[in-house]
Structure formats: C-alpha cells, structure tokens
C-alpha cells in the first residue's frame, strides 16, 4: 500500500490568492494511499523543506507530491529534499498549481477544484512510480572547435587555457575569418589585424591546441561526452613539415590572375597561395581548380623552385578520426552576393561594391594599400554613397531580420573615407540608425558631427550609370519624401549578413537545429544562448545570427565555459528519463518485433539494433535498443511503437494511463 505525502504550497500569495490551498490539502488527504497532507506558505523555504523531510521520516512515505510551481523551477529542489530524507528522488512529483492554475484563473470554487484535480492525477501517478537512478556517462576531455574565425579562436584559447585539449578545424587555408579582412574596428578604430594576429599566433603555438586548416567536418557520431568526429583534411599538395613558408613558390607561380577570396575579388592571387601575409599557418596550398598542373597536366614550377622539395602533387585528402567530448560550432556567416541586387546594378557596375570589399580597399594590407580607389579605374572617388539595409529588413527579399552590424560599419566606413579623402563627400542612406552598444551611438554621432558624413533617412530605388558617374536615385523621408539624386563615384552596399553556404548540411551532420534563415538555433533565446538542443554542442559567433566582434568573443567565452564545465567531471550524470525497450522471459524475450521504424523516427540516432543470442551464439531475435547516452527522452519512439514495447522511464504507459483515468473518473 502506498503512503503518499502531499505538500501544498501557497507560494506566498501566488497560489493561495486564487486557490484555497487548505481545502486542496484537506480533500486530497482523504484519498486512498495518501498518508499525509499539509499546506504551507513557502514549501521551497528551509522550514518548508523540513516539513517534507520529517514527514518522510515519521510517516514512512513511499511517494511525495509537491503541489507548487512549475517543475522547471523547483523539481530539482524537491527531488533533492526527498533524496536527503532517504526517499528515491524519482518518487517525487510536482503538481504545477501556479502556472497551470492560480496564475491563469480567477479566484473561485472551480479554480480550487482544478487544483485538486491536478494534485489527484499525480497522487495516482506516483503510486506507479519506480525508483530510478541517474545515468553515468564517461567524458572525453577534448573539445572540437569548428571554424577558425575570431569566435573559434577565442573559444579554442579559452578552453585550452583551462588545461583541456582542443582540436580546431578551419575550412580555409588560414585561420582568422572575416575579422582578418577588416581594416579598422568600431567603435575604437583600432586596426583589426593588429589585435587579431597575436591571437592567431597564440592558437598556433598553444600546446593544448591542435590546428587543422583546410579541413572540414566529414561526419559526426556519438553523443555528449562521447563524440566521434571524422575530419577531412583537404590536400594542400604540400608537405607541411618540410615547407618553411619562404613563399618563393607563390612568387614564381605562372597562374596569377585568380580573384583573391581574401581581397573579396578586388585583387588577384596565384594558384599556389597564402591567403594573406599574416596567415596562420603561413604555408601555401595549391588551389587545384586553377593550378595549371592539375588542369592541363603541365607546369610543376613550384616543385622546381621549392628549396626544401615540399610540394606533393600526389597528396590525397586525409581523413582523421578524433574522439571529443564537446563541440563548439563557430562557422560564422556570409554576406549576400552580386545577383541579389539587380536594382543597384551590383555586378554590372564595378564601382558598386559590398561593405566587405570596402574593408579591403581601406585596409593597409589590401589591394590599394589602404587608399580608397575605385575598382574600375583606380581613381579616388570624390563622392561616395553608402546604402544601409541592402537586403536586410526586407521581407520581400526574404530577409526580414536586421543584419545588426551594418549601421556601425557604415559609420566606420564613412569616417575612414573622410579621414583619407579630405575633400570627399560621403552620403549614407539609412532606414534607422541602430547603434545600441557601448560607445556605439557616440561613434555614429562622431561620424555625422565631426567628420561631416551626410546621413539621409530614406531608401534608394535605383542606381544607374551616366557619363561615368553612378546616379543614385533615392528619397529623403525627413524632407517630406523629397526625391534625392546623387552623382556618385562609388557606391557601397551594406549587404545582408546571411548564413554560410553549407550551414544546413553541417547542421544535419551535427544534428543541431537551425532557423528558417539557416542560422543555427540556440536552445533558449534568452537563458541558453550558446547551447544547442543537442547536448554537448555549443554555438559561438555569427553562425547563430549576425554578430559583431565583441559579441562573438563574449559568446565564444561563454561556450568555452560550458565546455569547461562539462569537462570538470570525469563522468556525466544524466537524468534517467529515457526510453527503454521492454524485455520479457523466453521464448518471447521482448514484445518488440524488430520493425525498427523507431530507428528512423528518432531525432537523436539513439536507437540501435540488439541481437538476442542463445548460448551457441545464434541470433534468436533482433530487437530495438535505446542508447541511454544519446536518448533525450522525447518519446517519439513511444508514439510510433505499434506493439507498445517502449516506455519512457518516469512516464510509462501505465503512469500516463493512470493520470488520464484519475482525471476522467469520479472521486
């Protein structure tokens, strides 16, 4: 016979103002199996907890129902109380009288009746509860960081500095990401590379960090604490141990007219190349798509000139298998490209460029060595127009969100232009100026007030070329929608920040969720911003949404702490709320018929085949088996199982049925 204790909480007045808590306790106290019931002002307080503990000890309770707030809030508290009093914590259930009753109903008889119902169903459920113990999973204390931009760099360094091993993979030949392309950074105008490159070098030299550049994630298996990642190390056609990074090959390579990715197509590179002078590692790769040897079968000049004989034309992609316990995804973002803006003539007119291209023009390491010159004829533009929200905040273009960083970098661009071209005139077309951030608004005001940038609130409908000038047709909405026409020498589009190409594919490899724009989804928009819905996989930087540098860095450090927290224990303790396939006596063994429809239905790849064998090792039956390390207890398999062979521990068919019946039956 069950001996159940019911503890009704007033939650100050949160519950008791609409629910008659005394009546709830008194009514429930009369039910079969209820040995003790009481109400109290704050059950979660120390005296409240003591009431529960002493009742368990004195009455010999076999089950506890706490009727209080949401289990999200205090279930761990009360389960701990039960455990301390010697009762299995999973014999404790919570009835949510606050969110599910008192907060959503008026004071009255019916509200109290509902509260009684809510408690009753759990009293009945608890009768079927079974003692459960938490699951221990070992943890591999190595982290995998995907993406070597500023977020990936920061996360790697932070994790490595806690004493744990890190494997950092970057798909490009060098780490550095978008930040390495930037000229100056807002709101301080300090040189981007000057603050970034020391970090890049630190990554390369850190004893705890293994860096694989030109590498991508091939596949991922496993679960929190126990991932198995396969990394494809793309062939660099180079023996990295022999290469000294002298760069002779890059100067002799005859294929010189390949648009440089680092310079956003504004400069050229060779087929064997180092993306930029400060690259880490500072060793070249051969771009096989453009290399004359790979396309035409002849050349091999780099091989001839290499003083150490490091070139390896026959080198193949290498697959490296690593075991890691946690993963930080920091794959960054991309900006919208030419074909997206026919109305602005992008792609047609050489002098209509993106913000990232402007960064390269303004950068001392860029194709013009920091002088702002037109891509078409190399002249210094006398009039320059900046367009905010090119693509962003435009539901018609399918990008309703704000790309967030553009308002700030436009102010920076205009400022850099004014600083470099004193006689020049700059115009900014904007929708709103979004300068939320420390010293951000001051920065924009400085552009407008000190540097004389002309801000025009309105949008641009069309850009066309006339007599070598770019005619920008816009409107000034602060002057009663007056049409504005500017004859510009150059136009810079603040193109929308979008998810990286391949983001969706990567998300599917990692089994993490993503939003409609293919940015990776955080587990909770406010309280779990760096976690994903998949245990052990965390997010950092602009792969989650457009982010500026300080935010990316902060997020990376946040993710690193989550990883370090995970690595702080040798074993991971997990809630035993997982699915279990039943086992029965021979000759049935299990009611599972082995159709394995649950395998394809499981979002977490948690179900595998189990072969039941006899003593001679012959397979008698194949049935489904749930991996307790992977199962998240979502219950999808339970719903699909036709034979009802799967139960979620703590939420079994029997418990659920009892709850429903307790609600439907008269008491």
């Amino acid at each position: 016979m069950s001996k159940i204790g019911v503890f009704v909480c007033h939650c100050g007045e949160n519950i008791s103002s609409t629910v008659d808590c005394e009546k709830v306790a008194a009514t429930v106290g009369k039910y079969d199996g209820v040995a003790f019931s009481v109400d109290y002002k704050y059950m979660c307080s120390d005296p409240g907890q003591s009431i529960i503990k002493s009742a368990i000890a004195e009455k010999g309770l076999t089950g506890v129902v706490v009727a209080a707030c949401s289990p999200r809030m205090h279930e761990p508290t009360f389960r701990k109380v039960c455990a301390e009093a010697g009762l299995n914590p999973y014999m404790c259930e919570m009835a949510n009288l606050r969110e599910h009753c008192s907060w959503v109903h008026e004071k009255g008889e019916a509200t109290t009746e509902k509260a009684i119902d809510l408690v009753r169903i759990l009293v009945e459920k608890v009768k079927y509860n079974q003692s459960l113990s938490s699951i221990k999973v070992p943890v591999t204390k190595t982290a995998l960081v995907i993406g070597g931009g500023i977020a990936g760099i920061q996360a790697s360094l932070d994790i490595a500095n806690t004493g744990h091993k890190v494997i950092l993979i970057e798909k490009d030949p060098s780490i550095g990401g978008h930040m390495s392309q930037l000229s100056e950074t807002f709101p301080t105008l300090d040189c981007s590379q000057c603050i970034l490159t020391p970090r890049m070098v630190e990554v390369a030299q850190h004893p705890n960090i293994t860096l694989y550049t030109y590498a991508e994630l091939e596949s991922l298996e496993g679960f929190i604490g126990n991932f198995k990642a396969r990394i494809r190390k793309k062939s660099k056609s180079l023996d990295e141990k022999l290469c000294t990074g002298c760069g002779l090959c890059t100067t002799k390579c005859p294929t010189k007219k390949i648009p440089s990715e680092f310079n956003e197509g504004l400069g050229n590179r060779t087929a064997i190349y180092v993306p930029f002078p400060q690259a880490v590692p500072n060793k070249p790769v051969i771009d096989r798509i453009h290399c004359t040897y790979y396309t035409k079968g002849k050349c091999r000049i780099c091989e001839k000139v290499c003083p150490t004989g490091a070139i390896r034309f026959d080198q193949e992609d290498q697959i490296i298998e690593v075991e890691v316990g946690a993963i930080v995804v920091a794959t960054g973002f991309a900006v919208k490209q030419p074909d997206f803006f026919p109305e602005y003539g992008y792609g047609k007119y050489a002098d209509v460029i993106t913000g990232l291209q402007f960064e390269r023009l303004a950068s001392a390491s860029g194709p013009t060595l920091g002088e702002i010159r037109r891509p078409s004829d190399g002249k210094i533009p006398e009039k320059i127009v900046f367009l905010a929200c090119a693509g962003s905040r435009d539901p018609a273009k399918g990008i309703p969100y704000c790309s967030k960083i553009c308002c700030m970098y436009i102010a920076k661009h205009a400022m850099l232009y004014q600083h470099k071209v004193h006689s020049g005139k700059s115009y900014v077309f904007y929708m709103d100026i979004r300068a939320g951030g420390k010293m951000y608004e001051e920065f924009v005001r400085r552009a407008i007030e000190d540097d004389g940038v002309n801000y025009i609130r309105g949008r641009v409908s069309k850009i066309y070329e006339k007599n070598g000038k770019l005619i920008v047709n816009g409107v000034d909405t602060l002057l009663n929608a007056m049409p504005v026409e500017i004859e510009a020498d150059m136009v810079v589009l603040a193109t929308a920040g979008v998810a990286n190409e391949g983001a969706e594919e990567l998300a599917q490899k990692l089994h993490i969720s993503y939003d409609p724009y293919k940015f990776f989804a955080e587990a909770h928009p406010k309280l779990k911003p760096v976690e994903t819905n998949t245990g052990g996989i965390f997010l950092a930087g602009a792969c989650q949404a457009p982010r500026d540098i300080p935010e990316s860095v902060a997020m990376a450090s946040g993710a690193a702490v989550k990883v370090a927290g995970l690595f702080s224990q040798d074993e991971l303790t997990r809630e035993p709320i997982i699915a279990v396939v039943n086992r029965q006596a021979a000759p049935v063994y299990s009611s599972c018929v082995g159709c394995f429809l649950c395998v394809s239905a499981c979002p977490y790849q948690a179900i595998e085949k189990e072969e039941i064998k006899n003593r001679n090792g012959e397979v008698i039956k194949s049935i489904a088996k749930v991996n307790p390390g992977l199962c998240q207890g979502c219950g999808t398999c339970v719903a699909f199982c036709r034979t009802k062979s799967i139960d979620i521990q703590g939420y079994t068919h029997e418990q659920m049925y009892t709850e429903v019946m307790a609600l439907l039956n008269e008491y």
């Binding site: 998300a507 969720s513 018929v593 082995g594 159709c595 394809s600 979002p603 999808t636």
Partner: protein, 266 residues
C-alpha cells in the same frame, strides 16, 4: 499455371526451397492458400482471377519460417507487401524466393528483392474507381454526417480481428489492442471500442498499407474498413508526396528529417 507448377516441383525436388506458397482450389468456388512441401503436391497449384488473398501474410508466420527457405507465388499486391515487410526487416533475400505473377499471368522469377522492388516501382498504387467515388462522397459529407456514417458502419463489428489476421502488415506478436497494462484500446465491441480499434488500425497502416483490400475481403460483415486506409493513402499523396513501398526504409510516417517542412520539428 503450368510454369508455376513445374518450377515449384523443381524447387522442392532440388531442395532449393522447403516450401512453396501458392493457391489451390478450396471448397465451393473459393480458393485457399496451399503450402507445397512435397513435389507431388505441386500439381494442386492454381492461379486465376479468384486468387486475391494476400499470401504475404504467411511469410512472417513462425510456423512457416521454421520450415526454412520459402518461395511464394506473388501477384503485384503481394510483391508490394514483401517490399514493405523487407523494409521493416521482416523478410530478406536469404529466406525468400519471389515467383512473380504479372497482370498477364506470366511467371517472373526474381533473383533478389531489389529486382522485385524495381518491378513494383513500375506501377503506382491507384485507388479503384468505385472506392474513389465513395471517398469523394464521404469527403463531401458534413462532419456530423460522416461521423454517423462510420458509427453506423462500424456498429455491427464484433471484433473477430479477421481484418488483422488477413493483413500482411499486422505481423506484430503483440497487437496494440492486446496490450492490457494499461488497456488503451477498449476490447469490448461497443461503439467507442470499435471506433478506436479501426482508427488505430488505419493509423498504424498509414505509409505501410499497399491497398490490397485483404482486410475488406476477410471481413465476414463486409464493413468497408478499407475505405479508412484508402483515405490515408490519399492523404499521404496530398501531404507527403505519395506512398510506394521501398527497400530504402524511408518510412513515410516515421522518418525524422531535420529539413522537415514544418518548423516546429527543428
């Protein structure tokens, strides 16, 4: 079916298979399943338009499986059932030889299940005209009318479970309705119990039912329960791009896809 008889005889004589499943003349004008285990019994095999029972129902039975490798005379619906069963790991090439019978009553012996699948995929599952009309008629009814239609139709059902016994997809050792701790689906054949049983059956067959009508043919009361599965087939076509059994195991209703068109699932 001279070819079939000859081949069955050979297969048994050479011990290539232990049993050949086919049809024989039953009582009256009826046909019934025949399990040929001795070469001399092969002569009893027949095939004509009366042979509509879905023989695939036997290949998952313990009693038949125990005999060893089997061959089966399979019409298109039977072949479809075999492919669906294979995708659910209930049969495989090692224990089954498919002797296909085409619409023109020609015998095709398939080397493996992949060949059977290729054959099956030449034909879409189409709902016949008479039943299509009935479905359209039901679709035009008001909710109340449709409810009454089904309550009335299902009222005489006394749960003999002949529909379940005739269905090749109902191979579970323990049916949902036999699960009694707790008893989610009521056993008695009252209004609610009947309704729940037939709805549950239709849901469990969605994305698995190959529309062979075995359930309807087996029903001693001729309740049009096959309309329920046909409706699910129509819905599958409308919402999920249609159903065709496939060895790939990309089950229509039970495959989690991160790129599902519904956002809530991500």
């Amino acid at each position: 079916m001279v070819d079939l008889i000859k081949r069955a005889k050979e297969l048994i004589e050479t011990s290539a298979v232990k049993v050949v499943i086919g049809y024989e003349q039953g009582t009256g004008n009826k046909t019934r399943a025949l399990f040929v285990e001795k070469a001399e019994d092969a002569g009893k095999l027949i095939f004509d338009s009366r042979c509509v029972q879905n023989l695939a129902v036997y290949i998952t039975k313990k009693e038949i499986k125990e005999k060893g490798k089997m061959a089966i005379a399979a019409t298109l619906p039977v072949m479809r059932s075999i492919i669906q069963l294979a995708s659910e790991f209930q049969v495989n090439d090692n224990n089954l030889l498919v002797l296909g019978i085409t619409a023109e009553s020609k015998l095709i012996e398939f080397a493996n299940l992949v060949e059977v699948e290729t054959f099956v995929h030449q034909y879409q599952i189409e709902i016949d005209v008479r039943n299509k009309e009935m479905l359209d008629k039901l679709g035009k009814m008001t909710q109340a009318e449709r409810w009454k239609f089904w309550i009335d139709e299902l009222a005489p059902c006394f749960k003999c479970y002949a529909c379940r016994a005739a269905c090749p997809m109902c191979y579970c050792h323990r049916c949902t309705v036999d699960f009694n701790q707790p008893q989610w689906i009521p056993v008695p054949s009252h209004e609610l119990g009947n309704l729940e049983w037939h709805i549950m059956r239709a849901i469990h067959l969605t994305g698995r039912c190959i529309d062979c009508d075995a359930c309807y043919n087996a029903c001693p009361l001729s309740i049009p329960i096959n309309l329920l599965t046909k409706k699910m087939l129509e819905d599958a076509k409308e919402h999920f791009g249609g159903y065709q059994p496939s060895l790939k195991g990309d089950h229509l209703m039970s495959t989690y896809k991160p790129d599902d068109k519904e956002n809530f699932i991500h």
